[in-house]
């Protein structure tokens, strides 16, 4: 039997059973194909507020669904399923389960900000995409993306010492993302540095690698930064209903 409006049926909603008896009637085989309803049965009234509480999501309530963001979107041009306008609507109306279906696409935003310039309501859709990706991660719906992991290592080091030491960032990043340290590009770069860098600079780099110096008088700045970051984290976790404990 042909199925009308097949495009509206999601493959995961089609249920088949090789052997099935309903009310004493054998409905195995052809007749055991059922379609799960795709009806929205409730709204999550907290969803918009949660996204709005994360950096970038503050202006989501301004959206009037014109679609300028999706029309201007770099990623949408190659993947029509990447649709910021649609996700903003789902978030505003609280259709959480619909949003979660796209959890593996939302992070793909390349932050080109064409939507930011196209948006007539100053929603800053790029920021909303960022906030939504963070929301998915904080709620445990998606694993931390490599870029989030990199940002964390980078920020941790800046806060700890007031400066960064590239080799340790790269080592930690490769380790936490499960990649081998001996990468061809890394070996080539190290070899190039050894051959071409002036001796004085090489010495300073080596010393920095070994002793990891801090910016002079950093401890006060560090304490202030740590306090601020913790406060932001606490505020976000509270807004997302994740309790007041420190992040893992």
């Amino acid at each position: 039997m042909p199925i009308h409006e097949q495009s509206l049926i999601r493959p995961e909603n089609i249920r088949t059973h090789d052997e099935l008896v309903l009310d004493g009637i054998d409905v195995s085989g052809h007749w055991s194909t059922f379609i799960e309803p795709r009806v929205v049965t409730d709204y999550n009234e907290a969803l918009e507020d949660e996204i709005a509480a994360l950096p970038g999501g503050e202006n989501i309530h301004r959206c009037w669904q014109c679609g300028s963001c999706t029309n201007s979107c770099t990623v949408n041009a190659v993947n029509p399923d990447f649709n910021p306008r649609y996700w903003i609507y789902l978030i505003r109306m609280g259709m959480e389960s619909e949003l979660l279906r796209d959890r593996d696409i939302i992070w793909q935003c390349v932050s080109c900000n064409k939507c930011t310039y196209a948006c007539p309501r100053d929603v800053e859709p790029e920021g909303v995409m960022k906030a939504t990706a963070h929301w998915l991660e904080k709620k445990g719906h998606t694993p931390k993306s490599p870029s989030i992991i990199f940002d964390e290592i980078f920020a941790d080091q800046v806060i700890a010492r007031g400066k960064i030491e590239e080799s340790s960032i790269i080592r930690k990043f490769l380790k936490r993302t499960g990649q081998p340290l001996m990468q061809d590009w890394l070996i080539a770069m190290a070899r190039g540095l050894l051959m071409k860098l002036p001796v004085g600079l090489m010495r300073r780099m080596g010393l920095a690698m070994l002793f990891r110096p801090r910016t002079a008088g950093w401890s006060k700045a560090r304490a202030a930064l740590e306090e601020y970051v913790e406060e932001c984290e606490r505020e976000q976790r509270r807004a997302l209903g994740l309790g007041n404990g420190k992040p893992e």
Partner: protein, 354 residues
């Protein structure tokens, strides 16, 4: 031209017409079929008015009090016009109490009738007590009782407002947009959120027509300050699971059917032509336009003229209208009535005569 101008209808337009006539030293006879003045805002118990947020009983009630105290206005409540004849400058109206009024001109401010929601049975009005109209919510607010579910008096946790109930609907012969309901609904939604901060309000719409400056002060203010949600869906039916109302429809922006529970459903009812318009048309000898409202002869020059010289019209008698525009039209009609049947004077007229 001498004698009082006959004003029919004591709502915002009629009150404004009488006040305008009195203001330029002309007497008026104001005929109102109900036992008190004020029209729909008073008789139907509206709460806070668009756009100023003043209470109807202060704003329109104030107009009524001024007219009642005005020596130049002869107020006849509980009274209708039975017969109307004569020529511009010399009309005679016979009233239901048997008296007659000699008037050089008449202004019809006979208003509209609220759409009766029982004509849309699929949306549950009349079947479920917690399905109410915008007018009923206005009454809950203006009476001080507050917004409560009529079935058991509980405070609603979630309210749906359905737009275009009795408007833009060929199915029931009402093809017009009632013009005010989007803004009124946004206003009511904000009042509900103000009274009940824990109650979520959803507005189901086809298009939003909070025209002109209401875009910011109602459409966006309701979303940005009061977190009212607007969902693009024409509701198919309102049923009940025995405890709460179930609203079914399709969210057209996500191509997804919806079946959502609500505590209260509010019909944003439209403005019908006054149910008495056929009678008024035959008594006053004025034509109706195709929707059944009193037809205006011109939109530009001679505002407020009907098909009958000397008889003018203002306000929602001409079609869905806001209160402030009704009042403006009444002032225009009063000016037109003053000039009716009066020979022009002044230098240009003198040149013409010579």
């Amino acid at each position: 031209m001498t004698g009082p101008v006959l004003v029919v209808g004591g709502g915002p337009a009629g009150l404004a017409a009488a006040e305008a006539l009195s203001g330029v030293g002309r007497n008026a006879v104001l005929v109102e079929k109900e036992d008190r003045l004020g029209g729909a805002p008073i008789l139907s118990g509206y709460a806070k008015l668009v756009p100023t947020g003043e209470w109807a009983k202060d704003a329109i009630g104030g107009m009524a009090a001024r007219v009642e105290a005005d020596a130049a206005v002869d107020v006849r409540t509980g009274c209708t016009v039975k017969e109307f004849g004569g020529e511009p400058g010399a009309f005679t109206a016979t009233l239901s109490d048997g008296s007659t009024v000699e008037a050089p001109a008449a202004i019809l401010c006979t208003g509209f009738t609220h759409f009766d929601s029982v004509n849309k049975p699929e949306w549950g009005f009349g079947s479920f007590p917690d399905v109410v109209t915008t007018t009923q919510v206005e009454q809950m607010i203006s009476s001080g009782q507050g917004v409560r579910c009529p079935s058991d008096g509980r405070t609603p946790k979630r309210v749906a407002i359905l737009l275009c109930v009795g408007s833009r609907d060929r199915q029931i012969g009402r093809e017009w947009c009632s013009k005010i309901c989007c803004t009124v609904s946004a206003n009511i939604a904000m009042e509900i959120r103000e009274e009940l901060p824990d109650c979520h309000v959803y507005i189901y719409y086809m298009d939003i027509r909070t025209f002109g400056l209401y875009e910011t002060s109602y459409y966006w203010r309701s979303q940005e300050e009061f977190k009212v949600k607007y969902i693009k869906a024409r509701i198919a039916e309102v049923t009940s699971d025995g405890e709460r109302l179930i609203v079914k429809g399709e969210d057209t922006l996500v191509k997804r059917p919806i079946t959502i529970p609500f505590d209260m459903v509010v019909h944003a009812i439209g403005m019908d032509p006054n149910v008495d318009n056929l009678l008024l048309s035959s008594i006053f000898g004025v034509e109706l336009e195709p929707h059944g409202n009193i037809a205006r002869q011109s939109a530009y020059g001679g505002m407020g003229r009907t098909s009958r010289p000397g008889v003018f019209v203002a306000g929602a008698a001409t079609g869905p209208e806001t209160i402030d525009d009704s009042i403006a039209q009444a002032n225009a009609a009063a000016i037109a009535a003053l000039g009716a049947g009066r020979a022009a004077t002044g230098p240009k007229a003198a040149r013409k005569a010579a």
